[in-house]
Structures are given as C-alpha cells and as structure tokens.
C-alpha cells in the first residue's frame, strides 16, 4: 500500500449546543463530557480526534451508536462544521475553505453513500446515479452515459429507467453506490452504508465493494457498528468511544493488542481464527540454527540446551527455512560413528510448513498433530517464526476479557546469530 496520506484529521472537535467555545475551554481544563453537559447544556460529539487515512485504503471507523462516528464522517465533507481542529485532504485544510471551494471539493473529490440510501424519490435510477454530475453542470448526454457506466459496475444498468421505490433495499443501495461512483471520486464516504440491509445482502455488498476496490483503488472511509463488517473490508480500523478515537490499527493489530476494555469488549465473541493469519501470530522465539556458518551439530545442541528448547529451526544465511532438528536427533547424530556430523542429517522427518497467509483454521491440524511448533514461512520461503500449541490456544483465548492479554514482547527472544 502506498503510504501517501489522503486525509489527515488533526485534533478535531465537534460540540453541539448553545456555547461550543465555552465547552471547548472546559474540555481543555479536563472536564469530561457529562460534567460539561450539566454545566453548559452542550453535547460533545467528537473530541480531539486525530488520525491519518492513506491513499487507496479502506478505513473503517467503528463504534457503538453515540460514539460520534457519524459526526466524524460528516466533518470530512463538512456536512457538519467542526468546532475546532483541521481536516486536511491532499494537504489542504477543508475547514478553512469558503463555500465555493467546498462545493467544488464535494463535486470533484468525494462522494457519499448513506445508510438510508437517500435516493431522490422523484428521479429515475439513471437520474439518481447522475445526480452528482448534474450538480456539477455536466451536460445531459455525458452525465447519463457516465451514470449508466456506474450502474453497469453495480449490475443495475437494466433498471436505469425504474423509479427507486420499485427496487429492493439491496438494489437501492447499489444505486446509492453507483451515484457515488459516477462522479469518479478519490474519496468515498460510506456512512453505515450496508447496515440497513439484511445479512446475506450485506455480505454480498461487501464483496461487491471489495471487487470494485480491487479494480480502481479509492480511499474509502467506511462507518460501521458491525465488527464482522469492519474485519472483512477494513484495511485499517479506528475505534471510537464517546467521541474519542481510542485505537487505530489493522484488524489484526487491534485484535491482538486491544487498547482498553472497551475495545476488548468489542472483540469479545469474535472468532480470531477467521481474522488472524499464521503470519500474524507466528512468534520468532524459537531457536534458529544457521547452517552455513560452520556450526557443528554439537554447537547446535549446546544452543538448544542453553535456551532450554527441544527443537531448533535450521535456516541459511538468507533465513530460508531448511528443516527442524531436535535435541534427541542431534544427540543421535553425534553418537553415530561416521564423520562428519552434518546438521542436515539430523533433520526430523515429517516436517511440514505453513504460509504466513494461511488462516488459523487452515493450520490447526498441523499445529495439533506435531510435537514441535509449526514453522511459518513467507511467500519466498523465508522463516518468520513458529506457532506452538500453547501460542495457538493463547491466541484463541485472547479475546476473552477474563484473561489478561498475553504480550509476546515480554518473552525472551533469540533471533539466532545474524
């Protein structure tokens, strides 16, 4: 993914009510939302939000209702005026834009898909899809051609002449999506876009969105209260609670290291085997044994004994995985008479490896059926780490709040001689 920042939100506040400035200074004094509401009658919608959205990523803002996520997305195109802070889009602060610049930004650079579809009931499907272009003053033949192309992308070109109320909910939202796509925006804001659809259609729409995203990379800001949805489509997720952004990260990062109990509670009941891949949980804490630096089996055995490990993972200088040796197999080798004692002769039979992209479900049988931790390699065969039964089970229990989250970093690490 390109690391270019598309949208940067800096210390953004939204305060609803009669005296936002006063509430802002009270916030700075450290009062909380409830105290401010009692004192001034104002509601803090979003407080001190800062994050950056990369070009071409699907960025999910997730939170329960009332967490400020809908307010947040509306401040990205200023449907709601921020009280304080900055929203930088392509390096330009949109909060300081005048009305004309704002209209131009909304017409050219971004579009929006709504939870309630918000299709114009008096316009046909085609006219709805062409709505953004019409606002921009694009002439009728051009805008209808482009709208039809957008409808083709969502598979609704045959319905161009229908009225929105003649379509099912899922189809209506496809029209909403086509309306968003027709203006060919850099940024697509999706406010709970699929939440009103039934689960089957929702999944279908998510797939559709991912398919469209694979064809033409846009920066998508997706608001959701549905964790499964966030996990499915999000490249990165921001979790909001009470107007604050409490954590931003990839689904895997957040699942593995929830910032607080709120985030952890969110992930309770999530089946991590669906989300985490072998590469996410592989731990590089096993003893690695480089074979090309002239180490003898005896030195390798010493290393295992010193680290109190039964198995060693043999790699070459490029960290390409070669095989697994055990303390027993090394001792057997050293007991043999014939010289020289070469490490490859001590490789265990029956060693299988897994790819970093394999899901936890895929690797479960392999982890379970061997006494040694399962070695995990990347696409080029480089050794990344291993997954023991213990680690696998710990990961499964990670999302249970009763268990304190285990952190890999506290364990002793040995990265081998490099």
């Amino acid at each position: 993914m390109s690391s270019e920042v598309k949208i940067a939100v800096k210390n953004l506040f939204k305060i609803f009510g009669p005296s936002p400035k006063k509430a802002l200074s009270l916030l700075e004094q450290g009062l909380d939302k409830e105290a401010i509401f009692e004192k001034t009658g104002t509601t803090v919608g979003v407080q001190g939000a800062s994050f950056a959205i990369q070009t071409g990523e699907i960025f999910v803002i997730m939170g329960l209702s009332g967490s400020g996520k809908s307010t947040m997305v509306r401040m990205l195109n200023r449907l709601i005026e921020p009280t304080a802070g900055q929203v930088m889009i392509d390096g330009e602060d949109i909060v300081s834009m005048n009305a004309e610049q704002l209209v131009s930004l909304r017409r050219k650079k971004m579009s929006m898909v709504f939870q309630s579809f918000a299709l114009m009931p008096h316009l046909t499907v085609l006219q709805n899809a062409a709505f953004g272009l019409e606002m921009d003053g694009v002439d009728k033949p051009t805008r209808e051609a482009r709208a039809l192309r957008a409808l083709e992308q969502v598979g609704l070109d045959a319905w161009a002449a229908s009225m929105p109320h003649e379509l099912s909910g899922g189809m209506q939202q496809r029209v909403g999506l086509a309306r968003g796509l027709a203006v060919d925006p850099d940024i697509l804001l999706m406010d709970e876009a699929f939440s009103a659809l039934d689960p089957l259609i929702r999944t279908e729409m998510q797939d559709e969105l991912l398919k469209l995203q694979a064809k033409a990379k846009r920066t998508i800001v997706f608001i959701s209260h549905d964790l499964d949805e966030a996990m499915r489509i999000g490249d990165r997720i921001a979790i909001m609670e009470g107007g604050r952004v409490v954590q931003v990260g990839t689904p895997e990062e957040i699942l593995q290291n929830p910032a607080d109990d709120y985030v952890r509670a969110f992930f309770r009941g999530v089946d991590p085997t669906n989300i985490l891949s072998a590469g996410d949980i592989a731990s590089d804490t096993q003893v690695t044994i480089p074979i090309t630096d002239g180490r003898s089996p005896r030195a390798a055995l010493q290393r295992l004994i010193k680290n109190d490990r039964d198995y060693g993972y043999v790699v070459d200088t490029d960290r390409q995985f070669k095989g697994i040796v055990s303390a027993d197999s090394l001792r057997e080798l050293l007991d043999q008479d014939e010289q020289p004692h070469l490490i490859p002769n001590a490789y265990l039979d029956d060693v299988v490896t897994a790819q970093s992209s394999d899901s936890m479900q895929d690797i479960l049988p392999e982890v379970a059926s061997h006494p040694w931790p399962l070695p995990i390699l990347d696409d080029s065969g480089t050794y990344l780490g291993a997954i023991s039964k213990n680690l696998f089970l710990r990961t499964l229990h990670r999302s249970q709040p009763e268990q304190p989250p285990a952190t890999e970093t506290t364990e002793t690490t040995d990265h081998g001689a490099h």
Partner: protein, 279 residues
C-alpha cells in the same frame, strides 16, 4: 376597583388607523394605482377570454381538461355544471367570477409560493410570517373591505385584493409544509454531492414539495370562491351579484340560483385541481 376606570378611551387606535389610511389615500394614491394596474390587466385578460369566447368552446376546454387530468366522471360533472349555469341564465356572471377567481389565485401563487419557500427554509421567517397569516385568516373580511375600498375604490380589482388577503394563507402554509417535509437525508445527500443552496431548492425541495403546493393551490382556490359574495358587496360583479341582490330585495329565488352556481363551480374547480397534485 376605582383605579381601573374604563369609562374613558385611553388608546385611540381607531383614530390612529383612520388618520393613517387617510394620509395614505391623500399622499400615496400613485402607489396604489401602480398596484392596481397589473391586477386589472390580468383580470381583463381572463375576462376577455372567458366572456369573449363562444360558450361551447369554453365548455369544451373545461371538459377536455377535466377528462385529461381527473377522469371521465369529473368531465361529465363539469359538462353538466357549465350547461346548467348557462340554462339558469348565469353564464356571463359565471365567466366573470371564473376570471376573478383565477386572477386571485394567480396572484396568490405569485406571492404565496415564494413566501412559502422562504418560510419553509428559514425558521425565523416562518416565525415572523405565522402571526401575519393567522391574522389574514381570522380577521373578518368586512374589516379590511373599508381600507381596500378607500385605497382602490369600488370595483372588481378591490374584490380581487380582498380575495387575495383572504385566500393567500393556505398556499403559503402548505408550500412551507411541503418544503419542510422533504427528508433531511435527501438534502444532506444533495449537499454531499456538491449541490448549492439554489440547487437543493430546485432539484430536491421544490419537486418533492409539489404535491403539497398543489394542495395549497386547491385550498386557495376554494377560499377565493368563498369570497365571491363578499367581493360583490364592493362591486366586484359575477356570481356574487345575484346573491347580494337577492339579499337586498329578499328575492330568495335569485339568491338560490346564485348560491347554487357558486357551489357547483367550486366543486368542479376543486375536482379538477385536486388531480393536479396527484399527477
């Protein structure tokens, strides 16, 4: 209580109003003549059309319009109504009333729809306008007949002006209501796609408020018809005349056919215009 003594008038509001209207009449006659001109022009135009055309053609136009917009039943009803007023000897009066009512509704729409749109889009304006509309609907027409006659003299134009005062509120209110009933999400969606305030009005609010505006137009039309008799008191002519004349001379028959023609005309216009809103 002896302190509160209502024997003497403390606030001579009546004198103030009298002085003010006198002053207006003496010093600003030109302004009122200027207001009078377009109304007169519009009225004369419609009068010329309705009374100048052969009755058969007028009937044909109404029946075809009713058929096209409201269906067979209304077309038949319109045919019977117009034939009947003709046979009752009230054709000329009916056509004058029609011209008057249509002129009134035309000016009501001209002023009322923009006012309603402004009220629909601005809470403050709505707040200011509401008591004015309440007053227009509740003040008995006889109260403002006097200043209207003083300023515009007796005649059909004065009748139309009094009718406009009486019939304006519904179209303003229903236009405002129609604008306000547009789902906020739709406006949000339009804004999100870069619509300007004017585009929101033209592309979203107005088209979606149209059924409500049409209902307002229909109500305004009905109220304008109910003013026909009162307008006749200040010399407006039309179907109000036989009623007023019947009242003055106790000719119950004359008053009855005048009243019957007004009711039939009202029903016909109501059925035809109601169908506009549903289209």
């Amino acid at each position: 209580m002896s302190m509160l003594n209502f024997d003497k008038k403390v606030i001579p509001l009546d004198e103030w109003v009298q002085t003010f209207v006198d002053w207006l009449v003496f010093n600003h006659r030109d302004i009122f003549q200027a207001i009078k001109a377009p109304i007169e022009l519009c009225l004369k135009g419609f009068e010329w059309v309705f009374t100048g055309l052969p009755p058969a053609l007028v009937i044909l136009v109404f029946v075809v319009a009713a058929w096209r917009y409201a269906g067979k039943g209304v077309a038949l009803f319109s045919f019977i109504t117009l034939m009947l007023v003709g046979f009752l000897g009230l054709w000329e009066e009916t056509m004058i009333t029609l011209a008057m009512v249509i002129s009134s509704v035309f000016f009501c729409a001209l002023a009322g729809i923009p006012l309603g749109i402004m009220a629909g889009r601005s809470d403050r304006f709505e707040l200011l306008l509401r008591p004015v509309l309440d007053a227009m609907q509740t003040i008995p027409p006889f109260v403002y007949l006097v200043p209207v006659v003083m300023l515009f003299s007796i005649g059909t134009v004065s009748g139309i002006l009094a009718t406009i005062v009486f019939a304006l509120p519904p179209i303003v209110r229903l236009t405002s209501l129609g604008i306000r009933q547009v789902h906020p999400e739709l406006i949000e969606a339009a804004l999100a796609f870069g619509a300007t305030s004017g585009q929101v009005l033209r592309k979203v609010q107005f088209p979606l408020a149209l059924p409500s505006i049409m209902a307002g137009l229909n109500q305004t039309l009905m109220m304008a018809l109910s003013m026909v008799v009162i307008a006749a008191l200040i010399g407006a002519g039309g179907l109000g005349n036989p009623v007023v004349q019947g009242l003055n001379t106790l000719e119950i028959g004359l008053a009855t056919i005048g009243g019957l023609a007004i009711v039939l005309l009202a029903m016909m216009l109501d059925r035809i215009t109601q169908s506009f809103g549903k289209k």
